[in-house]
Amino acid sequence: MACNSSGCESGCNGREKENGGKTEEVAVAGGVNQESVCVKCKCNEPMVFGDGGSEDGRFCADCFRNNVFGKFRLAVTSHAMITPSDNVLVAFSGGSSSRVALQFVHELQIKALKNYEASRDRSLPVFGVGVAFVDESAAYPSLSTGMVDAITWIRSTVADLSPPEKDLHVVPIESVFGSDSLEARDRFVKLLDSVSDETGKEDLLLHLRMLSLQKVASENGYNRLVLGSCTSRLASHVLTATVKGRGYSLSADIQHVDARWKVPIELPLRDCVWQEITRLCHLDSLKTVELARHPQSGINDLVSSFVALLQEENPSRECTIVRTAAKLTPFYFNKIPETDDSCVPLATQRRLKKFNLKYDGSMTTEAFCPICNGPLNRSDSSDLNTLDGCLETDDVLYAACCSSCRFQILPQDRSSLEHFGSLLPHHMISQAKHQKVNSQAYLRERIKDCLLLDNEEAV
């Protein structure tokens, strides 16, 4: 889910020199060099990025970096995202956002290592870091030539980030369909081809990517999955979710922590905007790789260009959008599950208490869409109950999905539903069946005071 960036190397250096020169001139000409001092530390020369963005030329390089890293660190510590005993997997797409996430996690790890070596009793272990890259060339055959170079580049990037050493896991996206790579790839391509809606295809790919990341994480003993999603990315997500009618599940997707998955997902860059990320990449010469993405004509791209337009008109629009959505009530799983881990430092425990999300217990849901894993609204899952009588797999699948996935991913023709279901990864199907059982139990729970017998057979 990390952003694919357009990179920021091109011509940036030249521009920087130009702008740097200009500010100097201004400083000399102006006499009082109030203009050319960082507004924070008031001693260093501010950075001018010349990208036309807001706050350009206000902070010096150090203050700017500290500011962005500070947001990251606050997110990490206040939500107990990374504790000493953790093993963290960073999802790295090669784009700017995930590159910055990887860099920051690396910096935290170095610091933890230093502390570890300096401490006498060595009681706090250093958390482990791994990196995962999902190879999507099966979805875009035209990518496969560039993919080899990209993976080589990623290997060297990750190798450069040691010590401490980091494992790199390169996984083909079709791996969620099984271990036989040829058969899996075939099934993956067939599944994608059977989705007619352009946006639906994109979204299914996104869900499959998450499944493969989860698979890597749980198979290799990681207990946290860090994504590089930044504010700008989430702002687009808020609008796409709204447009797709997913208003109910939206608040689950944009929190710092999302523990509805087996390995909890964390978004430490949630409060950093895209512009800061690209500026930081430029400042620290963090290289990124961009895999040529097909221009899409779907809803997602339309929304992205709309958000870009809004951002131009008002530079804080993306933040406002995410802040609005953040006011929606989160779900019970939007925090790291309670642990009695004595390794969590006291300060973190205090912060955790302070920031702990309050949620309304009565608003919890039991059911999730098997395809997108979004929590289902009562009105969606009521369909599930009306279909109680029939046990056909395809009907169960249809009933278990959210209305958005039904429309844009499931085939409109009910007769081909069975075939579609057979193509889905086993994980999704089993969830649909599991849901069925769950909903039965849920119904039973609601009428239990009127039931005379305890066992199911009585019905």
Partner: protein, 356 residues
């Protein structure tokens, strides 16, 4: 739908309406892209609105209902369809037309002529209230004084109150307005963009102001603007389609354009946005402004004076900036906050019709 098309192709004959399978289709329904005939379009269009009215229990038998009528397409179709459904399904409603004359020469005077014709065509009694009578100012006079900037603020605030006063004058139980699905989807988006969680939580309710003197409802909540235009076109309804001269059409907002683009890509996106708006998990404890009454005119207000009185006072004292923007030191202290310059460019329909 595709299956239906394929079938009719196989049959070899000309394509048939995919609802009745008898007549030739003459239009592609904007909401579903079904190719249907005119008769079936009337039928589904009216039936959908009937279902919305029944399912949401919008009216009770014997109620007096005012239709906010501007003479524009939405309110004209609403007046026509509502009187038709009232007759067909015996709602037992007393319907009235309620128009507000803002006093805009070359715009409202013409559209009011349309409403007067509608009065005769549909046999609905019409009540017209003018800004001049209520406030002593016409919009023409206001614009002459304050210029073209911010005039929509005056118009909008005054109209809201004028409609309530008109409704009270007619002694109606409810006021219906012609807000359509596109309008509501636009409002949902705008409230997200602005961070207004309180409005976001209520902008999708079909009935509002139930705790106030006169509840308002929107029977067209799920009706697409395009279908309303289509209905008016095929029924040859008499409506007025000029934009307000003080807020010309050249300036369509970002949000509206975005919704039109979405509709082109995926017609059901409009309904999906409304569904999202209804489903948002908004805690009921979100703080709402306390409602009181205006010390001056007695109208509902969360401040000492209602917005209309503040604006009016400014006009009468020759201080038209009073109550506009984030000006401090107004009558209500510094709590007066109105449309910011930044938000203007992303919305449409600031003005021009009674669909405030």
């Amino acid at each position: 739908m595709e299956a239906g098309e394929a079938k009719s192709k196989k049959a070899g004959g000309p394509r048939l309406c995919c609802i009745c399978n008898q007549r030739r289709p003459v239009l592609k329904r904007p909401k579903t892209l079904q190719q249907i005939c005119r008769e079936c379009f009337y039928e589904v269009f009216e039936e959908e609105i009937h279902q919305v009215i029944v399912v949401n229990r919008l009216f009770k038998s014997g109620e007096r209902v005012a239709i906010g009528a501007s003479g524009g397409k939405d309110s004209t179709v609403l007046a026509y369809v509502l009187s038709e459904l009232n007759r067909r399904h015996s709602y037992g409603l007393d319907l009235f037309l309620l128009s507000i004359d803002e006093g805009i020469t070359g715009y409202r005077d013409d559209s009011l002529e349309t409403v007067k014709r509608n009065e005769l065509q549909y046999g609905l009694p019409l009540q017209i209230l003018s800004y001049k009578d209520l406030y002593g100012w016409t919009m023409d006079e206001i614009v002459k004084m304050i210029g073209l900037k911010n005039n929509c603020t005056f118009c909008g605030v005054f109209r809201r109150q004028a409609l309530d006063r008109g409704a009270a004058l007619l002694k109606v139980d409810k006021l219906v307005t012609g807000h359509n699905a596109d309008d509501i989807a636009e409002t949902v988006l705008l409230n997200i963009l602005r961070g207004d969680i309180a409005r976001l939580s209520r902008c999708t309710s079909i009935t509002t102001g139930e705790d106030g003197p006169i509840p308002r409802c929107k029977p067209f909540k799920y009706t697409y603007e395009k279908e309303i235009v289509m209905y008016a076109y095929f029924k040859k309804l008499d409506y007025f389609s000029t934009e307000c001269i003080y807020s010309p059409n050249a300036y369509r907002g970002f949000a509206r354009e975005f919704i039109k683009d979405l509709e082109r890509l995926r017609p059901r996106a409009i309904l999906d946005i409304i569904k999202s708006g209804e489903d948002f998990r908004i805690a009921t404890t979100t703080k709402m402004p306390e409602q009181g009454t205006c010390e001056r005119c007695g109208y509902i207000s969360s401040q000492k004076w209602c917005k209309a009185c503040v604006l009016l006072e400014g006009l009468n004292r020759g201080l038209p900036k009073m109550g506009i923007g984030r000006a401090r030191g107004g009558i209500n202290g510094d709590h007066t906050r109105e449309t910011k310059a930044g938000s203007k460019s992303i919305e449409t329909k600031q003005c021009g019709s009674l669909d405030f």
